[in-house]
């Protein structure tokens, strides 16, 4: 036992490149990592840092535009880059299992779940017939799928999101791999499901003594599963340390900056908001979606996405709405702006009911209520210049004066959100995610709104950028006296920004109150569940 043990996975000087060989774009540079049997290494980093490319390079499944520029990957001492392509197929699935971020696209929609698991077992374990079927059912049971005999015969669309990810894990484990690579396996899931999936992955890893390479951008998730943590920045390894050491005292400045940017779920002093008459008052708001059937698409039934919601927002106040995906948060936000037809209720803005206004009367009021979306890429017409995008509201509302006057206002707005005036002549795709979100905020500000509905504006951003956007929103609130209806699933962000919070569950608000009360003394059972599922960092 004294012989120097060969590590399960050893990455030596890995380099991944894009573009022309003469002037390559290096995405991963000189990366060294080791994973022992039974150990979980968590690779953390922001988007574009090369985390996923590293995982793909290990299995030699890089996208066509990328290539391995150098280095070595040894699995159990065997150089994977030296193997012929045919031998690699025996490594993938059998010795290395892979779990992807999006179970929706990683599963074949026209194949039964059982067959997709069986395919791997048939290929790698040489099982057939009844033995195979029994093994498939066993695999599904192991990942916590109820009634596995029946569920094995179902198709992916009959599974919920969490069950799909469980099925993906069953497929990854079907070949009894020595190493499991999980690439952001819980990012697409709600916190309660995330907690379950993380637990499952850890249990399976311990039971089988597998090595695990776990990729995430979330420090909370990393704390929960890691034995060791490695931080990647722009394709380079910044720091690698055992979990406790890393979380107690991160050595590198970059890691420290990332920790500082994390929104923390803790009590803090919040400036009081004048409790004068509310700016916006929503009563019994309902939004329904019709279910149509038959040749003439008659409406046979309706789904209540938002079911009798009441809330109010004062001037200069931020009300956060939290809830899991599908709870009706986004639908409510759009309903308040009447971007969707309302089924009932009233939306009083300064005493005037927007729900009863005619279309043309509403159009003039729209300048008071604006919206910022989650996906800043989809939120801007890719064929318009940034200046035209920001000026759109002024044109639509007929404000801002002449063309030159609008251009001056656009420059002013861009400066206000931390961009340069000359950015008005660029296209949206030339900007990073955070910069694009700033443009979207400038567009909303252009019509001097009183209230902005922020629909998960930071969910697609890295933590450091998220912190900057939150700072910007807070600054704008102080400066312009704006009110925010802030829709999010991130409770840390709520604690950071909001004055009050409303918890939504299945189209209803189950609890509402000041942030400190709801988050630290929750009254409703669902709020408690939600809080318990949030991964905590010591």
């Amino acid at each position: 036992m004294n012989a120097p043990a060969v590590p399960l996975l050893e990455i030596e000087g890995l380099r991944v490149e894009f573009g022309a060989p003469e002037a390559p774009l290096v995405a991963v540079d000189d990366l060294h990592l080791r994973i022992e049997r039974g150990e979980t290494l968590v690779l953390v980093g922001e988007s574009g840092s090369g985390k996923s490319l590293t995982a793909l390079a290990v299995t030699r499944l890089l996208p066509a535009a990328a290539r391995i520029g150098g280095g070595r990957v040894r699995l159990d001492g065997e150089d994977l880059f030296a193997l012929p392509a045919a031998a690699m197929t025996a490594v993938r699935g059998r010795r290395i299992g892979f779990v992807f971020q999006e179970p929706q696209v990683a599963l074949n929609p026209v194949m039964r779940i059982g067959d997709q698991i069986g395919e791997v077992m048939q290929r790698h374990l040489d099982l057939r017939g009844a033995a195979l079927r029994a093994r498939v059912v066993e695999a599904l049971r192991a990942v916590g799928i109820p009634e596995p005999e029946r569920r094995a015969r179902e198709y992916p669309h009959q599974y919920s999101g969490g069950m799909k990810q469980r099925a993906m894990i069953a497929i990854a484990l079907a070949g009894e791999p020595d190493l499991l690579i999980a690439d952001e396996p819980t990012t697409a899931l709600d916190v309660t499901l995330q907690a379950q999936i993380l637990e499952l992955l850890q249990a399976e890893q311990r039971r089988r003594g597998m090595g695990m390479l776990f990729i995430t951008h979330d420090f909370g998730v990393a704390w929960q599963v890691a034995d060791r943590v490695a931080v990647l920045k722009a394709g380079r390894l910044v720091e690698s340390a055992p979990r406790e050491v890393f979380y107690r005292a991160p050595r590198h400045a970059y890691s420290k900056a990332l920790f500082a940017a994390l929104p923390r779920l803790e009590r803090r002093a919040r400036p009081a908001v004048s409790a004068a008459s509310p700016l916006l008052e929503v009563r019994d708001l309902s939004v329904e979606f019709p279910i149509r059937k038959g040749v003439f698409r008659r409406i046979v039934d309706r789904v209540r996405a938002v079911d009798g919601v009441s809330l109010s927002i004062a001037e200069g106040e931020t009300l956060a709405v939290v809830g899991e995906s599908g709870s009706g948060k986004t639908t409510m936000g759009r309903g308040i702006l009447r971007l969707l037809p309302l089924a009932g209720g009233s939306v009083r803005f300064r005493g005037e009911d927007l729900a009863r206004l005619s279309e043309s009367a509403l159009r003039r009021r729209r300048r008071h209520l604006q919206i910022v979306f989650q996906d800043s890429y989809a939120a801007m017409n890719p064929r318009m210049l940034v200046g035209d995008i920001v000026a759109e509201g002024m044109v639509a509302q007929g404000i801002g004066g002449s063309r030159a006057g609008r251009a001056a206002r656009v420059a002013e707005l861009l400066a206000q959100v931390g961009l340069a005036p000359e950015h008005a002549a660029r296209y949206p795709h030339e900007f990073s995610g955070g910069q694009r979100q700033r443009i979207c905020i400038a567009r909303a500000l252009a019509v001097d709104p009183k209230l902005i509905v922020c629909d998960e504006p930071t969910s697609a951003l890295d933590v450091s950028v998220q912190a900057q956007i939150l700072d910007l929103l807070r600054y704008l609130q102080q400066r312009l006296g704006l009110s925010f209806l802030f829709i999010t699933h991130n409770l840390g962000v709520v604690a950071e920004l909001a004055h009050r919070v409303a918890v939504m569950h299945r189209g209803r608000i189950v609890e509402q109150g000041p942030v400190d009360e709801v988050l630290f003394a929750p009254a409703h059972e669902y709020t408690r569940q939600l809080l318990a599922a949030v991964p905590k960092i010591p």
Partner: protein
């Protein structure tokens, strides 16, 4: 040259050219429009095909400038192309003659000076008429061909020097630039462009040297030069291919985008309209419309100045009918895209800003469906050129008096049944059509690849490396 005459299709073709120029001017200023065209240009096959297409379009445009003829043909319409091809147009024989022939294809009964009746192959009025003996043909052809090659090379020298001049700076010197072009080491696809240009220049040079003295592609039943016919047919083919889409575009765009954006009753009405239209067999609709038009024209014969104007109107009508039967597929595509776009967040943001529906459609929907229009237009072009041939073959296409590849192929039906067979009309028509359609298809492929966002977003984009912040 007489008075300038503008036929209906001439006006349409030049309007189309104007639209193209306006689009070019707009595209030059907008990076999102310029980038895909740069990508098309970077593909050697597409760049070569573009040269061929440009040559065809140039022929069609030259054939669309009409004048009233003077002199013996008083009253007829001639085009710029006719003037350029005057020798070909005027050198008509009495009947069939094979390519490069000096004698007719069929024997004629002649009475010799001695009063004997003989059946022989008579000499042609123009083909090889300058030769004293038909046996001299081979040497004469070789001499003229070498002169033609020289002329072709002289024509080719101009684009070659222009290209080398443009590349000179990067490669240091004219000779180095020429070498780089020959090796395909330039940034632009000069090698394929110049290769295609060289072939075209040689063909032009050879034709210019030989065609006035021989019928390069033979003559048809009434003795018309087949090369002339084939060249005249270019305009018909191009018109059918481009005008049809242009005529169907307003319907497809307006109805498709409106149906997708407004949904509800508008969508229902548009959907019922195009499902009904597309369930009627297209050929039936075209046959019925062609018949109606024929009856109308013979009742109002006095309304048309000339045969040419009449044939021209019939061509325009054919484009309209073809457009009417073909807008449904584009409309369906545009409706689906508009349905998708109306749910996208920048449209929601515009609604939240209080923008009206026409402004949203103009600013956000139309620019984002234009790639579909572009792809459909170029993909449909070649199938429409082929459709013309098929429809004319069954006599519901263009006017029989109008030169078109369909008419040439239609005539070849009987010619092939002759003994010995007359094959050159068919071969000429197929050759020209094949070249045009192949070039159009190659070009269309590149356009689709460059404009289709689904194909474009592969590669680097997928790895998330496309995010490059502005500094």
């Amino acid at each position: 040259m007489g008075e300038f005459v503008v036929l209906a299709t001439d006006a349409c073709l030049f309007a189309l050219l104007g639209v193209g120029l306006v689009y070019w001017a707009i595209a030059r200023r907008h990076e999102h429009l310029r980038a895909p065209w740069r990508e098309v240009w970077a593909r050697p096959a597409a760049a070569g095909a573009a040269v061929v297409l440009a040559a065809f379009v140039a022929i069609a445009l030259a054939d669309s400038l009409h004048f009233e003829a003077r002199g013996e043909e008083e009253g007829d319409l001639v085009s710029l192309l006719d003037l350029a091809l005057a020798p070909l147009r005027e050198h008509t024989e009495t009947s069939y003659s094979a390519p490069f022939a000096t004698q007719a294809y069929a024997r004629e009964t002649r009475r010799t000076a001695e009063g004997q009746v003989r059946r022989e192959y008579p000499r042609l009025a123009y083909g090889g008429a300058h030769l004293a003996e038909p046996a001299q043909r081979a040497t004469d052809l070789a001499r003229r061909a070498s002169a033609g090659v020289m002329l072709g090379l002289a024509i080719f020298a101009l684009p070659l020097l222009v290209a080398a001049g443009r590349e000179r700076r990067r490669h240091g010197g004219l000779a180095a630039a020429l070498l780089a072009i020959a090796r395909g080491r330039t940034r632009g696809p000069w090698r394929s462009v110049l290769g295609v240009t060289a072939v075209l220049a040689l063909l032009v040079g050879l034709s210019a040297a030989i065609a006035p003295y021989y019928h390069v592609l033979g003559t048809d039943k009434v003795g018309t030069d087949v090369l002339y016919q084939a060249l005249k047919s270019v305009r018909t083919g191009i018109l059918i291919g481009s005008l049809t889409t242009l005529l169907s575009l307003p319907f497809a765009l307006a109805l498709g985008v409106a149906a997708g954006y407004f949904r509800g009753p508008v969508d229902d009405a548009v959907q019922y309209l195009y499902t009904t239209l597309s369930s009627i067999p297209g050929v039936l609709l075209i046959a019925a419309a062609a018949l109606l038009l024929d009856v109308h024209m013979s009742r109002h014969a006095e309304a048309f100045d000339s045969l040419a104007a009449r044939a021209d109107l019939r061509l325009l009508a054919l484009c309209g009918i073809l457009g009417l039967t073909s807008w449904t597929s584009l409309c369906r595509l545009l409706r689906a895209e508009a349905l998708k776009l109306r749910e996208i967040e920048y449209v929601a943001a515009a609604q939240a800003l209080g923008a009206r529906a026409p402004a949203i459609i103009r600013r956000h929907l139309l620019p984002n469906v234009m790639h579909i229009v572009m792809i459909t237009t170029v993909l449909d072009f070649s199938s429409l050129v082929l459709a013309e041939a098929a429809l004319t073959y069954i006599d519901i296409g263009v006017d029989p008096s109008m030169e078109s590849w369909g008419n040439m192929i239609n005539a070849a039906r009987l010619e092939l049944a002759r003994e010995p067979a007359v094959w050159w009309s068919l071969v000429a028509a197929l050759g020209f059509m094949f070249t045009l359609v192949l070039a159009a298809n190659l070009f269309a492929d590149a356009v689709r690849d460059a404009f289709d966002p689904r194909l474009r977003r592969l590669g680097v984009d997928a790895a998330g490396l496309a995010e490059s912040p502005v500094r």
